[in-house]
Structures are given as C-alpha cells and as structure tokens.
Symmetry: C2
Subunit: 409 residues, 2 copies
C-alpha cells in the first residue's frame, strides 16, 4: 500500500463546511487505495488574528512565545479535520508538530527542520488511520514549539513525504496549478501539466506564489513528486517533478514577476580592496538577503555599487548600510522602491542561446526601460519600473508564444 | 525564597488590557520576594467558541480531538501573558500542560492528574523566570493532550502548588471571595476572612461557584492554603486552610444553594432483595451521580424510591432507569425538575445539636415546603421548590444571624 501526503492550505480549511469537504477528499484518496497523511494550515486568517492579539498585548512580542501562540492555529484546524473524518467513518488522529516528531533547530519564527521521528505517525498509519499533522510547526529537542516561517506548511508536507517515502506530495491550495504567467495579469495564461523542480524554483522565488521555494527545493533534493491543485475544483493541477517533462517542445515555461523589490545605490565607494566587502559583510551578518549586485565602472578611483533587496527589508538594509558607508568612506546612498522583477524561466535556456536578446527586444518594443539584469541557468530577470509590470509580463508572454502549447516549437 | 502559585480565571485574562494587568500583579508578587508560577484559563469565552466550532464540523466530536482543540485556548492566554511579562521587563516562559510535565490518565474530557514531572518548571524558576502554565490540560504518557474537565485550571494550580511545595495557592477570579451566601440573593451577605477546607467543599459543591471542589479537596489532602480573591480589585479575599479559623465564634459559616437539581421517583418497586440494587447499579455504571436517596415505607410489598440527580443528567438518568424498571418489575417513574437545594454549612454543627430544627423552623416560618432532607457532618440540606430559593436563602441567612460577625456567639 502506497502512502500520499496531502497538504491543505488555509483557504481550503477556512470554515466548518470546507473542512468537511477536505475530509471527503481525503476519504476519496483512501478509497483509491492509498494511505494518507494530511498536513493542514491554520483556518483562513487565523494566524493573522493571533498575531494581531500579540501586538495588542505588546509592541515587541517575544519570539518563543509568538511561536507557541501561532502554532495553536494549526492545532485547531488539525483537530477539527480529524473530527470531520471520524464523523464520516474514517478513523483519524491529529498530531501537533511536537507529537508528530518534527524536530527543528532552536530558531523561533523561521526554524529549519533537523529531522523527523516518524514512529508515532507510522504506528497510527499502520492501524488504518489517516494522520493529520499540524503544519508550519515543529519542536526543539527540549520540546519548545517552533514555527517554520512563511510557507511552513508546504515544507512540513514535503518533509513528511520524504521521511515517509510517500509516492507523492499533493498540495491543495486556492490556485489550480502553475501557469505560464499570473492569470490575473495575462488573460490567456495557460496551466502547465508539469514542470521541473528547477523551473518551479525560479518561478516560485520570483513571485509565482503557488508553493514555497524551500518546499520545492526539498522535493528536488529527495526527488519527491509534488502535485499542485485547487481544493475548490476537480480541474487537473500541475506536477512538479525531476523526470522528463511532457511538454518538451517548450523552451520557455513561464513568465514570473515580483514587485517586492527595492534598489539601493551606494555612491562614491573608494576603489580599494575591502571596500565592497565592508559594505556587504554587515548586510550578511544582519541576515538581509541581497541579490543582483552591480558595480559601475570605476571613475576617479571611486565607484557606485547598486544592489537589490526585498522592499520589506529596505529600512533594515539602510540602517545597516549607513554606518558601513561611514567606515569605508563612501559618499552616501540613494534608494528606489518603485521597482519590480520580470523573469523568463525555462530549463531549455541552458542549452540554447538567444533568449536574453529576445527578452530585451520584447521589452524594448513595449517601451519598457530595463534598469538591471540578472540571470541563472534557467532564468533571465530584468529589473523594471513597478508600474510597467503588467505590460512587461504580457509582452513577454506574447513574445515567447506561451498561450499555445507548442508555441516555441 | 518561597514560591507562590497564582491562578487567573478566564474573565481575568479576557482581553489584552486585562492580560497586561495580570502581568503587573504578578510582578508585584515577585517584588514582594516570592517566586511565581502562574496558571491561566482560556480568554473569556474562548473555550465555548472552540467548542462551537467543533459542533459546526460534526454533531459528535471525537473526545481526543476535542481535548486537543480546547487545549489551544489556554495556550493562547499563556503565551500572551508571558509576552506581557517580558514586555515589562520580567523574564517569563509559558508552558503547555505537556511541556510542564502534567501527566494524566488517558480519559479525555475529564482526565485526572496522575503526577507532575516538574523538572522543566523548576529549571525555569531557578533561572529567575516567572513560569506560566496553561491550565485545564495535561498529557498522557504517550503525549496525547487531555483536559481536566470543569474547573480544570483551579485543579492545575493546586496540583502545582502541592508538587512545588508552594507556600500558597492564590486563585484570582471574578468574585471577591467566599461569602456567607450568594450576594446576588442576600444583600447583607458577608465575606468570610477564612474558611476550612471541609466547609468550603460543602459550600462549593452546593453551588457557591468560587472554586472547583476537586481543587479544594486536593488542597485539603496536602494542606496547601488556598487564597481566593478578585483579580479586578484589591479587596482582601478568603483564605481556605486547615488551621484554626479566625472566626471561631461562628457556628454556621454560610448558606449555599444549588438549582441544578432534579428528582426522580420510581414507583412500585417490589420489596425484594436486589430490587433497589437493580435500579442503582445501572446508574452507577453510566457514571450518573445520584444523591439523597429516599425509600418510602413499604405498603403491600411495593415501595417508592426517590433520588436526586443533576438537572443536566436527568435525560440520561431516565434512559438508564427505564430498562431497569422493566427488569425489576417496578411500575413506572415520575420526575420533577423544578427543585433546588438550600444548605446550612458549618463545621461546628458536628459537635452542637439543634441546627436542623432551627433550619426547618426558619423555612416553615417563611412558608416554604421541604421535599427532602440530606445531611453531612458539616451540612444540612433541604430540597425545596426552585422558585422559592431566594426567599429560603434569605430566611436562613437571617435565622443564623450571618450578616454580623458574632451573630451566632
């Protein structure tokens, strides 16, 4: 008997009626002949409400306590789902992250899973039960509750699929799968039947908010197929896997965009060994993620250094950069928050040249200025003005003929 | 350094502002020189809301899952209180029942505490932290979460006080202490400075809803003084203890009443060995608590048997009694739900006679009919019509001069 891990996001368990629907779906999977371990997120906006409560009590909630507080959201949805399953005759048991044996490092708010002691889960599954695991949470070795950060439930599900050697990790969410571009921007965006881990990783980290990149990465390392589908329809979803893709003729798989982008330019950096390091080391120590660093050609022994951070982190970045600027004798800084990334993603780029040129031309023809460019093996990203994102995405979707299955053949 | 256990009920932590007040009170106790372990109930009506949610999902929620669900209410209030303490500079840590080492039997919904492994609590206290323990909950040996039933947080607090050898268990609630009668019924009811465990037990189980009887009983067995006071005022509360009472001159300590009373009379029970047992054994097996059994004088070899149950349990009791009636060849049953108990409580009754006569006379003079009578060592209870309870309590409060401190001297 094979085992499937199914994850249900917050919108999928937002009320009692939806929880009963999820129970029905799980029973359908059991009837197909699979054992099921289900992972659930907190109901609807429960996590936000709990967080609000903490900020009503104090301005700066302690992180350990915040994690214990937030973890209750998933305990509520898990126990309700187990009740709903038992109510329709399916034996079920819900487990907190601690009870499920999900061990993490002691790092509240964004702990990483260090291991899973799955004995309890395996015992319950072997007794014919559906096991519901509260997503987003784990516990340290001394039983303190931790949370895994954004997209934590996605990660719980894939980690369990790895540990339990599941045949599949199914992620049920409020979107129908992975599209060639955001359907809200591009009316003829097409749902992909399948996609590689690598491509999905580029799409997800660049704003296709379907599945958390850490979950995709973990699936990729252990080669667990991940199926993304809507819990509100029976439409076929998208399979993320490491095998040969069905739609091999396509070179470009999708257009991603991300508007959470800010640019910082440090002016007049002395062109000396160590000056640039003196800028980025403090940022790294402050755990501020920086990408797309560009250093202008040096003039008169000084240079401008530009980099990209998340818009949310801009304030932090500036407060770290200011003392660094003084210590390396740079001139000052300017920042621009009104930026965004648009990306062309596809594994085939690796072997075939010419995609960058085609991308730049499409943006040029749409009259969109490119501020910076960055690439990976399977992605080309242009930084453009945030206001122009919808046009840019549509222009690129057209330029690469993504609306038709064999567009790029 | 001595240690105090403080318990804060649901109304005391009903919102963010109140939680901050509780934090201030705890810090005041620390400043007095005591270590503090605090036990909290769920915020306001949180437990009811969680329970409602379960009944929205299904008509008959599984008990194990219900306990996991309900336990989250206390996790929320505990973590918020720990945040509030840290916010005003007091190191604090919140622990679930499981983390706090509160072990119970595997009996969901009304588990009994089998032991407390207080290592974690002791470690945190020795580091100068206030430890907040989620009330009302524990865990089985295999880490399943259980709840302790009604008044569970009271019990958690006293059990911790016993285990930690606390000098005192302080119970902060929405009443100011233990009164000579319900102040809502008797305008000149007087707050008692202290009361014995035994008297408190009789008052509490007969409806003075200040503190759960199981908590009083546990305090009595281990001789832990329990102080009951309001968390909304600084008025002095009532000390429940096993030593010599301050107000020794009083013979009667209080008048209790309980309107959760129903009477069942089984008619025409054959006057044979085993017939009455055939009636009460099934009730005992169904865990229905029966008290005040009266058997009428036998006439023509049949007898009527009358007993009292909680009004909430009447339906259950009837469904158990009906088949029993058939099997012992009794004639049938009648029930009366409109009844109540009024009780006169005082340890001095044990040694001095005449209290019953004085009670019956007071009720007679008020024109109140006595349906049944039951007594304990320190209590006399009359069953009367529920409608007459206010008059009965006032009449007894007057008859025993309870409004004045030396009334009975």
């Amino acid at each position: 008997m094979s085992l499937v891990v199914q994850k249900f996001g917050g919108t999928s368990v937002a009320d009692a009626q939806l929880i009963r629907s999820v129970a029905t779906r799980i029973v359908a999977t059991r009837n197909r002949g699979d054992d099921v371990v289900a992972v659930v997120s907190a109901m609807g906006d429960a996590t936000d409400l709990l967080s609000d409560l903490a900020y009503q009590v104090c301005a700066n909630p302690d992180k350990r306590e915040m994690d214990l507080l937030l973890s209750t959201g998933e305990l509520v949805s898990s126990s309700l789902l187990a009740m709903a399953l038992r109510d329709i005759g399916q034996e079920a048991v819900s487990l907190s992250g601690l009870q499920a044996g999900i061990r993490t490092e002691r790092r509240f708010g964004k702990a990483r899973i260090t291991g899973i002691d799955a004995k309890r889960i395996e015992k319950e599954v072997s007794r014919g039960k559906v096991v519901i695991v509260a997503g987003f949470q784990g516990a340290t070795d001394d039983m303190d509750v931790t949370t895994l950060g954004r997209g934590g439930s996605d990660l719980t599900a894939v980690a369990l699929a790895v540990q339990l050697q599941a045949t599949m990790c199914e992620q049920f969410t409020d979107v129908e799968g992975v599209f060639t571009a955001d359907p809200r921007l591009v009316s003829d965006a097409r749902k992909l039947k399948d996609i590689s881990y690598e491509e999905m990783l580029e799409l997800a980290s660049y704003g296709a908010k379907v599945l958390h990149p850490r979950a995709v990465e973990l699936g990729s390392v252990h080669n667990v197929p991940i199926f993304v589908a809507s819990s509100f329809s029976s439409a076929p979803g998208t399979l993320i896997h490491g095998g040969t893709l069905m739609e091999v003729s396509e070179k470009v798989r999708g257009i991603a965009h991300d508007t959470d982008v800010a640019k910082v330019t440090v002016l007049g950096v002395p062109d000396q060994p160590g000056a640039v390091a003196g800028l980025f080391e403090p940022l790294s120590e402050a755990q501020i993620r920086v990408d797309t660093i560009v250093q202008n050609t040096s003039a008169e022994n000084v240079t401008d250094v530009t980099f990209i951070v998340s818009r949310l982190e801009l304030g932090n970045a500036i407060s770290v950069v200011e003392p660094a600027i003084r210590s390396i004798n740079a001139r000052g800084w300017v920042a621009d928050e009104r930026l965004a990334k648009v990306s062309v993603v596809g594994a085939a780029m690796r072997t075939a040249p010419g995609y960058a040129a085609r991308m730049f031309r499409a943006l040029f023809e749409a009259g969109i200025n490119i501020e910076m460019v960055t690439t990976s093996e399977v992605r080309i990203t242009c930084i453009v003005e945030a206001d122009r994102v919808p046009e840019a995405v549509r222009a690129l979707h057209n330029a690469f003929n993504l609306a038709t299955l064999d567009g790029d053949a």
